[in-house]
Each structure stands twice: as C-alpha cells, then as structure tokens.
Symmetry: C2
Subunit: 363 residues, 2 copies
C-alpha cells in the first residue's frame, strides 16, 4: 500500500530523462518458469464486405469502381499452452483500450495473459472491430487528439487528479502513468454493440466453447455475445460499464448520476434467458461511493454498481447464476477500474480461478 | 506452385458459408515442438505529450482545460525464448499493416514471429506510431471506408485482379484473401517518417542492440532509425517501398513510373555514413518488370527496385555492406510483396538466417 499524498510527478520536463533512464521492461526477466506454448498466432473472425459498383480498372487503381472493402471484423492473438485446459479464455478490452490491457501491466508486471497461460488456460486477446489491429471500419470517423487523460485518471478511479486514492493498487511512478496513458488507442469507427458482439460471436464459432472475460465497455456487448453464441460457457466481467440486458417489460428505473444516467437495455425473453444458462462473475473495485456525490467519475460507478446489482437479481430470479463481488466487501481494498492489472492482480486472478474451479470450468 | 488461371472465388455469397465452415486456424495445432518462452509481454516507447492550458475541473471532465494527451509512441509485443541469441529482431510492418504481418499467415501457417522464435531469436513485433494498438496520434485524421482491395491485390503483386500470377506464392482460397484483406488496419494520423523513426529509435534505446526487419513503407523510416540509433546492428528490408536515403549532393535522378516518381531523400553525410556501418540485406520478389510498362502496380516496383540498386551502389561506394537479392535471380519464383508470409516463407527465412550467420549476427 502506498500513500495517497504522493502526487503524480511533473509530466513535463522529465520525458527526455525517462526516455534514457526509465523502465527497461523487456529486460526485467525473472526466475519464473518459462511459458511452454504448444501453438500461437493470430486470426480474424466475422465482419462484413462491401463492393463499389462498376469495374475495377488496373490502370486507374485509385478509383473505387469495382473494388471491395472488408471491415468490422475482430482480431485475436492466441496462445495455447502445452497440456491446456479444455476451455480457452477470450479477453475483451474496454473503451479506448486494446489487447494490450491483458498483457504487461503499466508498471511492468505480468498481466492476465501470462498469469492465465501459467494456469494452463489457452488465451485469446482481441482487438474488437474498429479498434487497434482490427481497424478497418465500415463507417467513417474522425479522430482528434483531444487532451482527456485527467478525465481517465479520475474515471478509472486511480484517484482524484493529481492525487492517488489512499492505498490505490496502482504504481505511482511517472513511467507507469506514461505507459498507462499510451496504452489507450482510439476507435477507428463508431462504437456499435451489435457490430462488436456479432464479430466476437463469430470468433466463438471459430474457436469453439470458451470463457469470456470482459472489461468495462466490453461488458454490454459481452452479454449480447453470450446471447448470440452458446459457445460462451461463462463470463467474468470486470467492472461492466453499462448496457445491462433485461427482459422486455422488466427494465428497472434508470439511475441518474453526476456523469450520466444508467439505463438497462431490453431484449425479448428468449434472448435474455440465454444469460440465465451460464455462470457469471462480476467484480467491482474500490472507491465507489455508497451515496450520490457531485464528482462525475466516482458517481458514475455508484450508478453502474447499483444497476449491476439490479441485473444480478433479475437474472438470478429467472434461474440464473450471477455472482457479484464488490471487492471491499470481502476486504480487498484499493482496486481501480483496471482490476486485472492492478498491483494485486495475482490475488484477483486467484479469486477468478476459484470461481472457475467452483463452476467446473477449469476441467 | 499453383496455376495462374485459378480465379479468386466469388467474394459475395459465400461469406456466410465460410463463417460456418472455413479455416479453424487456432485448432490446426501440429506436431511441432512447443515454443519455450522465458519472458513475453508488451511495452511502449517514445512519443510526445501535449498539455492544454488551464486547470482541470473534475466536475467538468469533458473540457480539455488542464488535461494532457500522450501520443505518437510505438507499441511492441515481445517474446524472449529460453537460450535466446544475443540480438533480438524488431519486426516493422508496412503501409496499412500492423504487427499482424509477422504473425500467422493469411492461410494459417506460421509467420516470421514463430519461425524466428524457433531459431532462438527474441522478437519484438511493433505497431508504429498512429497505427493499431499505438493509435493515439498528435495529429487529427479522418478514416474513410474506401473500397481499395483490388488496388492492393495488384500492388502487392499477388496477380492482376482477379487472376493470380502464374506460380504466385500465395494460397488461392477465398478464406486466405479474406484473412489477408482484414489484416489491413488504417493510419490513425498522417504517416510521418520522422515521427515513426524517432519512436522506433526510442524502442532500440530501451531494448538495446538488435536487428531490424522492415517491410515496404517501413523501409524508409527504417534507414532513418539506424541513423538515429546505433543499437540497430543490421537491417533486413523486405521490398522497401521508397524513401532511400542518399548523401546530400549524391541524389540520383528521380525514376518515373506509371504509378508515381521514385525519388531519393537527401541527408547530411555524417548521417548517411551511419548506414555504411551495418550489414544490410534487401530482398525483392517476383513479377517485377525489367522495362517500363503501363500497369501502375507492377511498374511502381520496377522503379523501386531500380532505386534500391542505385542505393546499394551508393552505400557500398562509401564503404557500406548492402546485399540486394532479386529473388528470381537466384531461382526463387512467385514471391509477392509479402515475401516473409508467402507460401515459401521458410525458404526465405533460411536465406535470412544464412545472411545473419555470415554477418555473425546470430551469436
């Protein structure tokens, strides 16, 4: 645990110093056992194709006439360890993030990719459609370099800029924040729950039965993916951000917050019941207020956690199996919005492994 | 070798069929030995930071006032095998591509990532600044879904759409082209040789001495990277696209083609001489015409290959060590622009390994 009074280092002026002297992450190999990988690689699933009318003229190749465009697919980097457990884990990032979320943490420790490979799970790390290496979007977009990192520092509950929360499970060094901010990568097309869930369902059709980990914005389309593909055998959702799926006629009242109003999404009952057929674990971290407050970042999570509890109760009322853990309730303190890469991420992985074992998903 | 008369399958109508039935790439594990990885993860290097004037107000976090923005860095996914050779290989993609270039090939075979890991090289696969998982750009851009894939089919010398070249080293199935087209991912900001070479030089400062593989558009900034960082100990350039670096006063005449005019880039002699201090291998594939022709795609490569020969001669005249191999000259036929992922990519890897051994870069 570190002290909340540590301020973020001055961001300006030490950049050049850091370029020369800071974390040589790759060199920090350890005495850990090696990863023994039976097979690894990448693949692409789902997506759509358009064709421009006319005939392609190889002498005027810059004209779109008669040309095609493939987009809105998902990219996945997979690794299958020797003696892998039967169900792989598909890891799905949140808003403004990519597969990087699950790789090396911002302070240079192992992320969930390596941790779960060591626990003999095959892993599939995705870039969702219109993000990262899956950037070809069927819809035009403009990307502006708008300064927004203090928003994210607060929204991701590292603290209240420029102070970290007391005991925040996030390293306080400049280089860690530098790596963290640079892990963000923009949408190359509008975020669309249908588009991304359709592509990830196509991935599950390709790879077969598996477990889905989602983070934040990935939570909502994660539920839709389980509705679209019965190959989703379980979901572990890290701080699902919004877009909880309810049966038509059972939408709870919207929950206003200082940031926005959190609303459920209604689907027909035959779709909703798919979510009652699989075990689901939802985890939320620390520094989420119990009562409304006027700080948008924190208050947004109060409203989301409340909606998540409504959703758990609704799914379980219909025969589902949703477990929601607010980590401070079991004595785990200081977690940010990035529970799986926080300083205590091995403890969090243990919690997830326990869940997977209890639900017989690890054999 | 496959027959040039095979046309590309109808792109429309079999998409849904393929989604259900086509290549289950991940499941195609083989009898190969496992990869034994001592350490793996990702890191970010280089880039710049801006700060918007004013004071950040946590109650109005969507205002840019007092907020920062980090961008123009490079992302790298690294793997270090057990008993690794001393020099790692940094693999740099071309235009419209990402780290995916070096992973699984479009037809599901192992790419250079796995092939060189098996040969005990550590590998660093990058997304250059303003691309893929390194998407935060300091300059605004608009991304349009413009149909252009028949241009690329020709430009990358798979054939003359919709026919493959006779003996093209590229699988002719629909799903291979589907995977290939979907491997493209857009710029999230303008391509800038200085920006990308500065970031990759920062990566070499972090990781220490290494070998640089470049592809196509990566070639030009690859030369600049070697000028910026003496940690670049050798370059293997696969079909460098343009932007060959000459000393001021020694620029050769521009070479017009049916596509564009290829020009050298002038730098001061003290910069240029850095390129004479390291061994460099340049490889070009097949179906590059000897004489001018009116098809832009192929003619562009005639001009580039000619400029590459000029460049080899200039560097070697100044005491350099550049080897240029036009593969058909040594009897290797059918290679496209993606030499390292073509059907004969193990043969190509052998050629590269031979070069690295001759130059004592593998010990």
């Amino acid at each position: 645990m570190k002290n909340s009074s540590v301020r973020v280092f001055s961001l300006f002026g030490i950049v050049m110093l850091c370029a020369a002297a800071c974390a040589n992450v790759a060199a920090s190999t350890t005495d850990r056992a090696p990863l023994v990988i039976k097979d690894q690689g990448s693949l692409i699933a789902g997506g759509t194709v358009t064709a421009y009318p006319g005939t392609f003229d190889p002498r005027h190749p810059l004209k779109p006439d008669g040309q095609t465009y493939h987009g809105d697919h998902v990219y996945a980097f997979y690794q299958i360890p020797v003696d892998a457990r039967p169900l792989p884990i598909v890891m799905w990032h949140g808003a403004g993030q990519s597969a990087k979320s699950w790789e090396t943490t911002a302070d240079g420790r192992e992320g969930f990719q390596n941790i779960f490979l060591r626990r003999r799970f095959a892993t599939y790390l995705i870039d969702q459609p219109r993000r990262g290496d899956a950037g070809r979007s069927m819809v035009e977009t403009t990307i502006k370099p708008t300064p927004d990192e203090q928003l994210w520092f607060n929204q991701f509950r590292m603290g209240l800029w420029p102070n970290f929360f007391n005991g925040a499970q996030f390293d306080h060094s400049y280089e860690t924040l530098n790596q963290f901010f640079r892990s963000m990568t923009p949408n190359t097309g509008p975020f669309d729950m249908e588009v991304v869930s359709r592509a990830v369902a196509a991935l599950f059709r390709k790879i077969g039965p598996g477990i889905l980990f989602t983070h934040s914005q990935g939570g909502g389309p994660g539920w839709l993916t389980a509705i679209k593909s019965r190959n989703v055998k379980a979901i572990v959702a890290f701080e699902p951000g919004s877009s909880f799926i309810f049966p038509e006629g059972e939408l709870p009242a919207p929950i206003p917050s200082a940031f926005d109003t959190v609303k459920g999404v209604a689907v027909p009952m035959p779709h909703f019941v798919e979510l009652t057929k699989i075990p689901i674990l939802i985890l939320y971290g620390d520094n989420i207020p119990d009562k409304p407050m006027d700080l948008p970042a924190q208050d947004s999570w109060r409203a989301r956690l409340e909606m998540a509890r409504n959703w758990r109760d609704t799914v379980n009322k219909h025969g589902g199996d949703v477990t929601l853990i607010h980590l401070p309730d079991i004595g785990i303190r200081g977690n940010t919005h990035f529970i799986f890469s926080d300083l205590n991420n091995v403890q969090i992985a243990d919690l997830v492994s326990k869940f997977l074992a209890e639900k017989h998903l690890d054999r």
